[in-house]
Amino acid sequence: MSEFFDMGGYGKYLWPAFALGFGIVVLNVVLALNSLSSAKQDARRRMEMSQ
């Protein structure tokens, strides 16, 4: 198991790289969903004001 984390000595580059890459993957999903929910909120508010 520990040699899996060590990755032949390259672990200290490899794992941060994966963390960065997939962190950005997750981040963009979160950002997109946030953008959608705030757009929905704004749209609801606009509808209430116009009624």
Partner: protein, 245 residues
């Protein structure tokens, strides 16, 4: 005619919104599963490379993010061109939705590349053509978003940023082919060459699966952001009422 109705539907915000809403979970679900499978294949199953040993495994995060940064810009430029030529609001909305995602993945490509470059080349950064052009791509994304933010009139902002996106697309082939045109430190493509790929199959399939996963992932995120854009742009249109109910 069937093709004409299809085209009309593509231009209609409520139709696109409904389409996006329905397909997001499917693309998202596939992306998540495929990423997990590809990660397992690449990190656990694939044998270590002869030259790079285990460091080569970084290809499974670096290559897809770099490819995505280019693919997103191209999508953005095509959407922008469609918006300019056929004056489709939905196309402009799609282009706007692409930009922040593309910028993030350019950052990811540069960052993972730096982490791979240090053990392989001894340096976090070299000013070689491909890396320089990728950095320029990041500036183009920032310029695009800055231009959009700087112009008040939304229609003008759409069109002006569309012109910028189209002008900047020339950078994409430069990034792609720079390793072949100039002496570059960055390695030439090992997968997509004419004829047989040079990679071992056990190493290749996780990479291909990862590309597929990332493509599906991008579609997911794009559909979500596109929905948000359409809601913001359409202001008080009646179809929004139904959607939010």
């Amino acid at each position: 005619m069937a093709t004409w109705t299809w085209f009309h539907r593509l231009a209609s915000p409520p139709h696109v919104y409904a389409f996006a809403r329905r397909w997001t979970p499917w693309f998202g679900g596939f992306a998540a599963l495929a990423m997990c499978a590809a990660l397992f294949g690449g990190l656990v199953l694939a044998p270590a490379d002869y030259q790079q040993k285990d460091a080569f495994r970084m290809v499974y995060v670096h290559a897809p993010t770099a490819w995505l940064s280019l693919m997103i810009y191209t999508t953005m430029a095509v959407a922008a061109a469609v918006g300019l030529i056929w004056r489709m609001k939905v196309a402009h909305a799609a282009a706007a939705a692409c930009a922040p995602v593309g910028a993030w993945f350019t950052v990811a490509a540069l960052g993972t590349g730096m982490l791979w470059g240090k053990p392989m080349w001894g340096a976090y950064w070299v000013w070689d053509p491909r890396l320089t052009a990728e950095l320029v791509l990041l500036f183009l994304y920032f310029g695009y978003m800055g231009l959009r933010a700087g112009i008040e009139d939304p229609v003008k902002a759409d069109k002006a940023s569309a012109v910028l996106a189209v002008v900047g697309v020339i950078n994409v082939p430069i990034i792609k082919f720079s390793v072949e045109w100039w002496n570059s430190l960055h390695q030439v493509a090992t997968v997509m060459q004419m004829g047989k790929p040079k990679m071992d199959f056990d190493m290749l399939w996780p990479l291909l699966l990862m590309f597929l996963a990332f493509a599906s992932y991008f579609i997911t995120v794009l559909l979500i952001r596109l929905r948000a854009e359409l809601l913001r742009r359409e202001r008080n249109a009646s179809w929004i009422r139904e959607v939010l109910a």
